[in-house]
Symmetry: C2
Subunit: 759 residues, 2 copies
């Protein structure tokens, strides 16, 4: 077949592939038995903000998950992963699941028990009530997927540079696409139709109960969303479409323009007539059943198939009005067939696959991919020869009737729920970001704040709400902090000076790069605990701690010992006690954790080796940077630390004995964080806040060493601030090893976006 | 001799050395003939701000340069270097010099021609007029150096922990020091006295004309600042001192307490009585002549000698009231001796030196220095045996009478002026900072803004004015910029996105890490100039520029060529033209420079090698980072660049031919900046400002490539922003290779400190 387009060229394939797509995926919330969820509309996943990702649909128990427009199918899937995770987290609290089919298996009786979405707008409420009466409430429980497609404006501009005729030609490109879509979408009905069963009591006001209990797609049959047959809409030209639609409304066939149920919706204006002057912005293809074999309703392959299908249609001969009628009939026919009925239109299907493969090859080549898309098309091509490979056929194999349907649906729902809830500290689909950024992004999504990735490798994202834009790096580096505050905290010398100046205790130290000078410093020592250490040390080698002023020989030994490790040696006041991390934001404490070094607790039987293996099964432990707690290791540092306690990895500690594997308490080396936010004495909180203020930091992590956090600081309960962090880790508060989690990502957004209605 | 102190211990020497010192150095401004400068008080170097570094003294022609209190003599010298440079820069504009002696060589006749400092305070003016009448105006032309000393409060606190008796004991320590200073300062008069001559018409109202034309120190003789003999002040106790001083004022012997002229002034209260309750804060030793052999009036050795001398006095037996009287007489006697008269009190001098050496050794040892201070003391000890080594003797050797005195003084003044003005782009004494920081510090000093170094290696300084503190890094990284704006500018991908979003042109590019994908990209090329380049390149290897869409073979060759250099290759829109750097602050353009690559201009005779040598003599050229322009090099990159033009270093370019040594225009590789601030078309300025605003940058350097800066941007005059810098270099505008300098350091402070009265 000849693939040409009056405006586009074959070389445009690459740029046409760069067109944006977006998904709106509906789903029913159900309880563990498959009944509609009865929990009310929860605003937590239902904001209707600038870019709502998750919203409640017609029925109260129906959610709609919406992705922003992006180019790559993989990215669409990432958005779906994230929003499914967020919805599932709330569902989990109510013991609810997402029903993985387009058609409901259980419809409440009487139908008045179907909870209607509580909408604020009385007009909208009235419209929905009318629809519920006119078409029946059952239809409102159908869930589908809408696939939005915008032809890359760059290509449009390049190929239609003439301003005067631009809009008309632009609209004609979209009308041509729409007609061809109607003409050939039956192929998608065959390949992707996946709603063979429904609750046996299901029916619609216009078309009654299904005439068969099993068909390829009930949702795409006459028993799906369909207007009365007298609603006639032409797709010949955009003008005729607009006129027909306006007539249908003025003659009361439709109550509103949006009551038109068609598989292609032209988008870009409030009223259809706007499209004539503004131009069609994008098209919404609405004929997709939820795939019960894909956790997110649609797989990456499906997304790719559809995109190639659409681009192919652009290069195919115009189907004209007759083609639209033909296509409508054929799609209905295939939808109402038995799911195991072989394909009737194999030649045309083959022709379409040949065309799609040519297009896929072209895209692969122009983008330098090695047959990636072609493989996907090949995969689907097999289905036209073997109906058992189609999803509808696979469903009837799994579930032989509507009881089996419910059972299979619940099985899939539970399986998917486990997938959605896996690794809750990650934001699914955004695992490439560091943990703090993932937390902030998750909260942004939950609150309808728009997300744009500026540089994933750098954890740099732009968040927007209404007219406000905020760029965020690593979760809490924002406009709220000043550049100089960052440089002061990055500089340990300067940090100490600034804190010291406001009367906060920091360990006093002297730096020596000269052995003689360091040795002579003995006369200057006061009677207090000191640590003598190389400026840089591995595994703590070269460090000596004196709890009282040492005698001169011991001191000199310590100095010489340290100089063996480094050319610079520090003599510093030694602070004894527990290390607390205060997470401060805008002058407030948002979380305090105690940081404990990597450790295991003996059971009197297991070796340290075994205890480590066991502890590493903790759900929060994982690879460094990719989990809130890092796997315990059995390296050199751990071996040395054990040796100091007289242990090896094969030793068996007694019951409840704590064995430390590390001297340092960093989470990155297996350390553990324990929430102490409520327990710490207010005076220590005040000191941490004072430190953050002195550093003029909005976000700040203060590391404080103290003896007893339940008592105020005193001569007997000394303390010292050992570090201030400009980008304090968030996950050590959000996903604590023990204690109450603190929602620090949420707090970031609350301050950044005062206008967002937080909940 | 026995060195002990009732409170201090020998181990305190190290901490006593850590006492702070500060210098107030007066100097007469003179014209090229030695007459008093007639230019009026210039506020540029005369602010009386929180911490005035440079202020006008009694006479209009007299400046006073004041250092902040610091520990190390070297640091004091650094402050003096800086303030001398600033004063000298203004002096240069008026063809003035600083007179390098304590005594004037030329006094205006009649004396009414001596310009009096114009003071705002009428009381102060009145007082000075009275003083001028009572003591004579000549005395007011004497210039000296005051040496402030504060005993390290740490030592005081450690040795006098008892709160109740603390103030009394604290004051007694200072009184003991003062008495001993009076007792033994004659040694300093001998070692440092350096004002043997004065204008022959010089005289004072109280003591008439000098009875000898030459003496060791006229300033420290009876002809210096002296009260009437009936003013009797006891130093027995602080109480008796206060009572005597109050009596002298109430009995009209003195008009005000500050009219008391003594070599030791007790500091810490508005009125002397305040000291009793507040405690003496520090002492001011006033008996120092300006050393005509030291560019800054005092050398580092002198500063060290005096500090050791003071600390030694602390450990010497109390001289008591009798000692004070004896010391006064002896110092006067030595001051009025012939400069070549050998020392009369050799035994006592030897005793003092032995004590000082012991102290110097003690400090050296406790601070781990290898005899550094001891060597200094040894150097001065030689003078007690050989008078010709003393400065007064050296002066009379150079200048045998007051004519010779004028001549020698002018010679030294000119020599010192050259030192002060050397390398004007550096802030003398602060050369360890990078150039931008030096510029900001210089402006801070000029405007009385206090400076505190937080971390020199990091160019981190704290500036203060009244209650306002501002930390500045690298000259223009401040509180005024947000942390996130920094991270966006640091990230080229994000910068491009942000600029592109607001409609600013940035070169469009694609990154490939895969040869095949890069080769296939050919079909996507538009007909425009592109550059194919390895992501990282040395000497520009692997770069190919196409001015039009290349044919496929050339394109593929370029791709393969680039992949030989790096695993990542960028294909980017190529912008042709000139590179301009816009320096933007707070939405305003503060400077624009054209950046030209390293180059030489032929003279028709010299080889490129010779032209490079010649150009490297340019006063702004120096080692990278330490001069506004970097030395031209003759390395591999230059050789390659010349080879591309068919040259070697031995080629002789024709007259006025410009030969480029580099393709890049960085100042760090010999590039040159030419000021274009006034010439660039306003539309380009608007674009640069828009870019800075989009990046939410207060300080921002925008690099823009364009064809013609005199015309607005257009299709024929395209442009592109290639980079945005969060810490734009300041010196390329302040010290331009050609054109008008822009005072960007000054602008930083103007915005940071709105309350400072800038001039």
């Amino acid at each position: 077949m000849n693939l040409t387009h009056p405006y586009f060229k074959w070389d445009d394939l690459f740029n046409l592939w760069n067109s944006t797509i977006g998904i709106e995926r509906e789903a029913l919330r159900i309880d563990q038995d498959g009944n509609l969820a009865k929990t009310p509309h929860s605003p937590e996943w239902g904001t209707r903000a600038q870019q709502p990702y998750i919203q409640t649909d017609f029925a109260e128990a129906q959610v709609e998950l919406i992705t922003p427009p992006v180019v790559e199918p993989k990215e669409v899937l990432n958005w779906l992963k994230a929003s499914h995770q967020i919805v599932a987290t709330t569902n989990q609290q109510h013991h609810e699941l997402l029903w993985p089919f387009s058609t409901p298996a259980v419809i409440p009786n009487p139908r008045t028990d179907i909870p209607v979405a509580k909408l604020d707008d009385p007009k909208e409420r009235e419209y929905r009530e009318y629809i519920g009466k006119y078409y029946g409430k059952d239809v409102q429980l159908l869930s589908g997927i809408h696939y939005n497609f915008q032809i890359n404006p760059e290509v449009m501009k390049r190929r239609m540079p003439d301003q005067d005729t631009h809009i008309d030609r632009h609209n004609e490109v979209y009308m041509h696409l729409s007609r061809n879509y109607y003409r050939y979408r039956w192929l998608l009905t065959y390949l992707l139709g996946a709603s063979p069963y429904v609750d046996p009591t299901y029916g619609t006001e216009l078309y009654g109960n299904p005439h068969k209990t099993v068909m390829r797609s009930i949702r795409q049959s006459r028993y799906g969303y369909n207007n009365k047959e007298d609603v006639k809409i032409s797709y010949d030209t955009l003008e005729s479409f607009v006129e027909d639609l306006e007539y249908a409304v003025s003659s009361k066939q439709l109550s509103l323009q949006k009551e038109l149920y068609r598989d292609v919706r032209l988008r870009g204006g409030k009223e259809a007539r706007d499209l004539l002057t503004k131009g069609i912005q994008y098209v919404e293809f609405r004929n997709f059943d939820i795939d019960p074999f894909s956790p997110y309703g649609m797989s990456e392959e499906m997304l790719k198939l559809v995109k190639v299908f659409i681009i192919t249609l652009l290069f195919m001969e115009d189907a004209k009005a007759d083609g639209v009628r033909l296509g409508d009939e054929r799609s209905r026919e295939i939808a109402e067939e038995d799911p195991l009925a072989p394909l009737n239109y194999l030649d045309e299907a083959q022709m379409l696959f040949d065309a799609m493969k040519k297009v896929a090859q072209g895209i692969d080549e122009q983008s330098g991919q090695k047959g990636e898309l072609e493989q996907v098309i090949d995969g689907y091509e097999a289905m036209i020869h073997d109906v058992t490979l189609t999803p509808a056929a696979r469903v009837v194999k799994e579930a032989q009737n509507s009881d089996g349907f419910l059972h299979f649906g619940l099985k899939q729902a539970r399986l998917f729920q486990e997938i959605y809830l896996d690794k809750p500290y990650l934001l699914h689909g955004f695992e490439g970001f560091e943990l703090s950024t993932q937390d902030v992004l998750k909260e942004a999504m939950r609150h309808g704040i728009k997300i744009e990735v500026l540089d994933e490798a750098e954890n740099l994202v732009r968040l927007s709400y209404k007219d406000q834009n905020e760029i965020v790096k690593n979760g809490n580096m924002t406009r709220l902090d000043s550049l100089i505050s960052y440089f002061v905290m990055e500089d340990k010398v300067a940090t100490k000076k600034v804190l010291n100046d406001v009367g906060i205790h920091v360990p006093q130290g002297v730096n020596f790069n000269n052995l003689d000078q360091a040795l002579h410093h003995y006369s200057q020592l006061k009677d207090e605990a000191i640590v003598v250490k190389p400026k840089n040390t591995n595994y703590g080698l070269g460090i000596t701690i004196f709890h009282h002023k040492p005698d001169q020989k011991d001191y000199e030994d310590a100095i010489r010992f340290a100089f063996k490790q480094d050319t610079d040696v520090i003599i510093e006041e030694f602070l004894e006690g527990t290390e607390l991390r205060f997470y401060i934001q805008n002058g407030d404490i948002k979380g305090i954790v105690e940081r404990q070094p990597a450790q295991v607790k003996g059971d009197g039987q297991s070796t340290i080796h075994q205890l480590i293996e066991e502890e590493n099964k903790h759900p929060l432990r994982g690879v460094q940077h990719f989990a809130p707690m890092t796997y315990l290791e059995k390296g050199e540092a751990e071996r040395l630390q054990l040796a100091q306690q007289g242990y090896t990895f094969d030793s068996v500690p007694s019951k409840d004995e704590i064995v430390y594997l590390r001297a340092n308490s960093n989470v990155s080396t297996g350390g553990k964080s324990i929430d102490r936010t409520e327990e710490v004495h207010p005076e220590f909180k005040a000191i941490a806040i004072k430190a953050a203020n002195a550093l003029e930091a909005n976000f700040c992590g203060i590391d404080l060493i103290l003896r007893d956090w339940t008592m105020p600081p005193s001569k007997e309960n000394p303390y010292g601030i050992i570090e201030a962090n400009f980008n304090p880790a968030m996950w050590i508060h959000r996903f604590v090893g023990e204690g109450t989690p603190r929602y620090v990502g949420y707090e970031v957004l609350k301050q950044l976006f005062p206008e967002v209605p937080f909940h």
